[in-house]
């Protein structure tokens, strides 16, 4: 082992140890010192992850990877480790003040430390067993946070549904591992990559990829197993923040990690595109109908995870990773500041609402497409396939909408368009800049699936435009969306039949 690679591995492994050390030993631990200790150790762990990332960036690309059996520090993992530890540090600091006066704080610190340690281990996994064990450990530690209040039936139900999904995912992963192990002759992931480079993918490996994809779907709370993620509002706000920002997106990391396998397994990729896209579209619509802030944020996460998984299926790993990071930071902040919803409503009342004009609804996507295409063409090496520019154009078209009946004092159409155009340009430039960041992944876009994604996003834009212009025409859709398409009701019943449990607390109302 070279000195650099040992240093690399050490700096990547240190956070695991530090977070384990943050777990208070005695149940009756005194509260403030427990948090203080957590804070100190998590800042140390954060420094360690930053150092590890620095070392990775400084190291030769494709340099020494594996240094210890079953573990491997990667550049991608280093990025995610910094992200997760940052979230853990912030959420820990938040919780130490937010939970003041609550019983069960030491338990919370322990679970937080446990989750973070397990995540760091997962990020280093280079062996099926490490992967399976670490991912299961994340779920187990999380159970304590989900059930922070053991007297709340919906918290218990959500935790149970999560448990059911986790065990199914475990089974799928074990199956995937068994198939691959048998084929490759080793449980090592590096060995798997080497095997795939040398050999054509067998049916067994394709099946392994499908199982893996399904396990990710289960762990990432895509439809139809999203229910528990929506219902974790029954735990304190920082738990939601941690879950929605730092844990749920690990599926994306695993998919990126398994890019080599996925590229050899078209069925698995189509599965990811199909489920991811469906989730993104449906959950996106449901999100628009939510009447409480936290539930809206939760549906937004489901939709965003669908989109990220779809990107993985499409082979757009850079985008998926950008998504993973950007969404985490955004969603953690959004959850922690969920109670500013009242201020936001006050500001909305001050600003008033203006419906966009039909003409601008129709023309905005064209204008947006023009701008995206122009900016992308100015870059020498296209950062993404052409159809993705179409997806972006649909995404940012709403920034170019103009009010149907403008306030005479309000800025005119030209000023509005210029402001919107400026924002679209800034967003495209930011997206281009994001692609310059060395993440250590290489994209493998799938054109046919990409077209499907583009068509779907055009359809989604069409739906939104119709929603603006003729909301009454979509009354039935709204009803279904408001009901979450009834998916969770049936999924819950299935989960309870598969694994019955008592989730209502005894003898209370």
């Amino acid at each position: 082992m070279s000195p650099t690679s040992s240093l690399l591995l050490a700096s990547a492994l240190l956070p695991v140890a530090l977070m384990l050390a943050a777990i208070p030993h005695r149940r009756a631990a005194v509260v403030p010192p427990v948090w203080g200790r957590f804070r100190g150790l998590s800042v140390a762990a954060l420094s360690s992850t930053v150092a590890s990332l620095g070392l990775q960036l400084a190291a030769e690309p494709g340099g020494p990877g594996t240094a210890l059996s079953g573990l491997s520090a990667t550049l991608t993992g280093a990025w995610v480790a910094v992200l997760v530890q940052l979230l853990g540090t912030v959420i820990g600091a938040f919780s130490s003040r937010y939970l003041q006066g609550e019983p069960g704080q030491p338990r919370c610190v322990a679970a937080l430390g446990g989750v973070l340690a397990a995540v760091h281990l997962l990020l280093l996994a280079d062996h099926w067993l490490v992967l399976i064990a670490a991912w299961a450990a994340v779920g187990l530690a999380l159970q304590h946070l989900l059930c922070f209040y053991t007297d709340r039936p919906f918290a218990l139900l959500a935790a149970h549904k999560k448990r059911v999904a986790d065990r199914l995912a475990d089974a799928l992963l074990i199956a995937a591992a068994a198939l691959a192990w048998n084929e490759v002759g080793s449980g090592s992931l590096s060995a798997l990559w080497r095997h795939l480079e040398a050999n054509a993918p067998s049916i067994a490996l394709q099946a392994s990829a499908v199982f893996l994809a399904l396990a990710v779907v289960l762990r990432t709370a895509l439809l139809p197993v999203h229910g528990w993620l929506i219902q974790v509002m029954e735990a304190p706000t920082p738990v939601s923040a941690l879950l929605h920002a730092g844990v749920i997106n690990l599926g994306g990391f695993v998919l990126i990690r398994f890019a080599t396998l996925l590229e050899a397994a078209p069925v698995a990729r189509w599965l990811l595109v199909g489920i991811g896209l469906t989730t993104a579209l449906l959950a996106g619509l449901v999100m628009l109908t939510r009447i409480s802030i936290k539930v809206r944020l939760a549906w937004s996460t489901v939709a965003q995870m669908g989109f990220m998984v779809m990107e993985c299926g499409l082979g757009l790993y850079t985008l998926a990773l950008l998504h993973l990071i950007g969404h985490s930071l955004y969603k953690a902040h959004a959850f922690l500041s969920a109670s500013t919803a009242v201020e936001a409503a006050r500001l909305r009342m001050m600003r008033g609402a203006a419906a966009p004009s039909v003409a601008s609804l129709a023309l905005a996507p064209l204008l947006s497409l023009g701008m995206v295409a122009l900016l992308v063409s100015a870059v020498q090496v296209a950062p993404w396939p052409w159809w993705w520019s179409g997806v972006l154009a649909m995404a940012w078209a709403p920034l170019l909408w103009l009010p149907a009946t403008p306030d005479p004092c309000a800025p005119g159409a030209v000023r509005g368009l210029l402001a919107g155009a400026g924002m679209v340009i800034a967003l495209v430039l930011a997206a281009l800049a994001g692609h310059r960041v060395p993440f250590g992944v290489s994209d493998a876009p799938d054109g046919t699936a990409g077209l499907l994604a583009l068509v779907s996003m055009v359809a989604l834009y069409g739906g939104l435009a119709l929603l603006q212009a003729r909301p009454a025409a979509l009354a039935t859709w709204r009803r279904w969306s408001y009901a979450g398409f009834y998916v969770d009701e049936y999924a819950t019943r299935a989960a309870l039949r598969l694994w019955p449990t008592r989730w209502t607390p005894a003898a209370t109302e």
């Binding site: 039936p153 509002m233 802030i293 950008l322 500001l347 709403p398």
Partner: protein
């Protein structure tokens, strides 16, 4: 105003006729529904969260009767839990003398032969007060919720979700069609619901839905005719039904309240009642005939015994009432001692004769008391005055270039005047000279709003949000890191958003559309009510109050109740401007209200979280007045520091810290979005003094007492006293009972755990977690520090310095006041001339033992 304040008409005598015709029964059912709906008190939205007594509409009954009804009809607790009382007894907070005094004061206790020994024994018991069942309870084959939610919970959840969808206008971007009204909306939602049967364990719910009554009236009639309950129990049954969705019922009652203030009416509450009743019809159809028959029999049997059950509960709660009283007697003893200690000698000169350098009018809010005391001790030449924090201006305020009009006055009243905003660089700009400025300021704000709206689209719509997090999600890094250490920045009003640094400091609220005589009238009225129509000093401060907290859905509950959950800033600034207008002053002079030639009125705000005083529009004052303000700053600095030190311990801070450190800590706490207890608000409130300041000056009242200045000598006709006893006294009673109720039943009358709060509809209220009923009242964190209750549930003790006859006159003329007193919702005392007190009880005055 009286119609608003009269809770409800006499109970159901009109319901007891014989040989009813069909139309007659219909009318009586209608009357019973109306009566049940009248029992629900309103709950204001989060952005106007004023405190309300949740039993307000039941104050025509005695506290103990209401406690019994709440227990039997809704499993709601009104008196403090016995465990808490036990602790108060064990710790000596309630002394044996207090208990004896309480027993002596309670005639029912004497009648029942309750003595101290039995009362003490009862503390160890928990009275069994089982709730009367509703139709959905007796139909439920799994009421304990073995494998699913009980139907009671499931129905509440479903109704709550539908109400949220119907009433929300600010959260969902995709709004439903709701033209048919609440009942039709619910019916439509339910008949199209494909999942509810699965959730409730009712695979054949479709059969039940076919029985769904078509209209609200049908639902009401159908259920009451079918149930076969004794007619006397109808209204009680319906009230119990409403209590299962008490949060939304309170929201509907708020809509009705607002409609009534505006001269209209609102029927959402009746719709809600009908929805809840119709659920019974659906579930009935889902069960077979035998089960249905059994349910009817069970229900009828239970409700035939309801009068006996209510009486039983009332008897059982006698002990609780005595202990509640004992808790209050203990507090009152201390209060009386403190007030006696500072009692002015009989010959003391009236305070008005003394010349003061500065006069400062504060809100009556309990948090003003420590600050007033500190300022008076820092510089005795300051006269402080307690007055309702809206300063008598019945206004609604609309920020510049917006349509976001909001009331800035007590919830009991409807706004009568409009306040708009004007950009004013110098006094001349108040006239036509400043008109040009207005257009550019409006333009600047609208531009800023349009930009914010446009950028908002990038996270609002799903496809935009997908790609935006990839592009700019990393930008949230900065915001996220801010959670690590909150800033120490000063309070910043939301109303200035979008004005930019050019206009923000010079945008000033002004009264709109009032001619000079009306302005003079208003000014004269307000000055008289404040006792400032003579003896004015050269600097008069109008000090409103406001809190400072971040990421706090219930922030408005910490602001000024008299300003409808807003800060007092707008009212103080408008009044100061009004009284500084030369024409108005001339008009006042003409009415014999004399004031010094160089007088200046200045508006300020007491930040109750950090105890800082912020002045407004000081740039418009002349140099001499500004000089006086500046000289006052050292007094404020010293006084505010003293108050911060007094408050520090309760907030877990070190009161020995240096001045700057303590202020810094409080400011960071105020800006800390993770802080669930930025300040204690009005926790601890226990008494209301309506008296000259001389009666309490120097007494340490620990921020537990509302103080309103009142001098009976200036109120020959008793009109000011009448106003005080029918407006501020009711407001303080509302506040007092909101804290009381939230502390005694944090689950049903408080909003539960703040860590789980989930804002509904942007402003309507909160859910605790995913759903369940809308929550009303205060969060547990607002009253409890994790180890101890910070609010002791005491009924307000009102102490008035006025002749007995004047007080009795108001009581005789106002049914609302009479009810509150006779039914034990508050205590009334008066000062006697010898520095002692008399206690009012059932029309007589009793001496208060020293």
């Amino acid at each position: 105003m009286d119609t608003l304040l009269t809770p409800r008409t006499e109970p159901s005598q009109s319901l007891q006729l014989s040989a009813p015709t069909d139309a007659d029964i219909g009318r009586r059912i209608d009357a019973a529904c109306a009566q049940a709906c009248r029992a629900i008190a309103p709950a204001w939205p989060l952005d106007r969260a004023i405190a309300v007594n949740p039993h307000w509409a039941r104050t025509d009954l005695s506290v103990r009767t209401v406690a019994a009804r709440m227990a039997v009809l809704g499993d709601i607790r009104v008196f403090p839990p016995r465990a808490q009382l036990r602790q108060a007894w064990a710790s000596g907070r309630i002394a044996a003398a207090d208990l004896n005094e309480a027993l002596a004061q309670c005639p029912a206790a004497r009648l029942a032969g309750l003595d101290a020994a039995r009362a003490i024994d009862a503390l160890a018991e928990t009275p069994a007060l089982p709730r009367l069942p509703l139709l959905i309870d007796v139909l439920d084959d799994d009421p304990r919720g073995q494998g699913r939610l009980s139907w009671r919970q499931a129905v509440t959840h479903q109704v709550s979700q539908v109400c949220a969808a119907y009433f929300d206008v600010h959260q969902a971007d995709w709004q439903p069609e709701r033209a048919g009204g609440l009942y039709a909306f619910w019916r439509d939602t339910l008949t199209h619901d494909q999942g509810i049967g699965v959730l409730m364990g009712l695979p054949d719910i479709a059969r039940g839905l076919s029985a769904l009554p078509a209209t609200r009236q049908d639902a009401e009639q159908w259920v009451l005719r079918r149930l076969g309950l004794p007619e006397e129990a109808w209204a009680d049954y319906l009230e119990a039904v409403l209590l299962t969705v008490n949060g939304w019922a309170s929201w509907c009652a708020y809509l009705a309240w607002e409609a009534r203030l505006a001269g209209g009416s609102d029927t959402h509450l009746r719709d809600l009642l009908a929805i809840r009743l119709a659920w019974g019809a659906i579930l009935l159809e889902c069960r077979d005939d035998k089960a249905a028959q059994g349910a009817f029999v069970a229900l009828q049997m239970e409700w035939e015994r309801s009068p006996a059950r209510l009486q039983q509960a009332e008897d059982a709660l006698l002990v609780d009432e005595v202990w509640q009283l004992a808790l209050e007697v203990g507090y009152q003893r201390g209060l009386a001692q403190r007030l006696r200690a500072v009692a002015p000698p009989l010959s003391a000169a009236r305070e008005g004769e003394q010349a003061f350098e500065v006069q400062a009018a504060f809100c009556i809010d309990v948090r003003s008391e420590p600050l007033r005391r500190a300022i008076e001790s820092a510089w005795p030449a300051v006269q402080t005055i307690g007055f309702a924090g809206f300063f008598g201006l019945p206004v609604a305020y609309t920020p510049l270039a917006t349509a976001a009009r909001r009331p800035q006055l007590p919830g009991l009243l409807a706004p009568a005047l409009e306040v708009t905003e004007r950009v004013v660089d110098s006094v001349a700009d108040f006239g036509a000279h400043g008109d040009a400025l207005q257009a550019s300021a409006r333009q600047a704000r609208l531009n800023s709003f349009a930009r914010a709206d446009r950028w908002g689209a990038s996270s609002r719509w799903p496809n935009a949000a997908f790609s935006s997090v990839e592009a700019v999600g990393a930008g949230y890094l900065g915001k996220l890191v801010q959670w690590l250490r909150p800033s120490a920045s000063a309070r910043r009003s939301l109303d200035g958003t979008g004005l930019g640094s050019r206009y923000r400091p010079v945008c000033r609220p002004v009264l709109a559309g009032l001619d000079l005589p009306a302005k003079v009238d208003l000014s004269a009225r307000v000055l008289h009510a404040m006792g400032l129509d003579r003896g004015l000093s050269r600097l008069v401060l109008l000090i409103g109050h406001g809190s400072q907290s971040a990421n706090n859905a219930q922030a408005a509950a910490l602001d000024c109740g008299a300003c409808c959950g807003q800060t007092g800033e707008v009212n103080a600034r408008v009044l100061a401007r009004l009284l500084n207008e030369p024409d108005v002053r001339a008009g006042l002079c003409a009415r014999d209200i004399t004031m010094p030639e160089d007088i200046a009125f200045a508006a300020a705000l007491h930040n109750t979280t950090t105890d800082e005083i912020e002045g407004f529009d000081l740039d418009l004052l002349d140099a001499a007045a500004r000089g006086r303000w500046t000289r006052l700053q050292t007094v404020f600095a010293q006084a505010c520091d003293q108050v911060r030190r007094e408050r520090a311990v309760a907030l877990g801070l070190d009161p020995r810290s240096p001045h700057a450190t303590l202020l810094d800590q409080l400011r960071r706490r105020a800006n800390d979005g993770a802080q669930t207890r930025p300040e204690w608000g009005l926790a601890g409130n226990a008494a209301f003094l309506i008296a000259p300041r001389a009666r309490s000056r120097g007494a340490v009242l620990e921020g537990r007492v509302f103080l309103h200045d009142y001098d009976a000598a200036d109120d020959a006709d008793g009109s000011v006293l009448e106003l005080l006893m029918t407006a501020p006294m009711l407001v303080t009673h509302w506040i007092n009972w909101q804290y009381h109720a939230s502390a005694c039943d944090p689950q049903r009358l408080g909003s539960g755990n703040k860590l789980l709060h989930n804002v509904v509809g942007g402003r309507i209220g909160v859910f605790e977690g995913n759903g369940g009923d809308l929550r009303i009242g205060l969060a547990r964190q607002s009253l409890h520090d994790g180890e101890h209750w910070r609010h002791e549930p005491l009924r307000l003790t009102v102490v008035i310095d006025a002749p007995a006859e004047a007080i009795e006159c108001v009581i005789a003329n106002h049914a609302v006041v009479r009810q509150l007193l006779d039914n034990g919702w508050l205590h009334l005392w008066r000062f006697t001339t010898d520095g002692g007190f008399m206690r009012y009880a059932r029309g007589r005055w009793h001496a208060v033992m020293a």
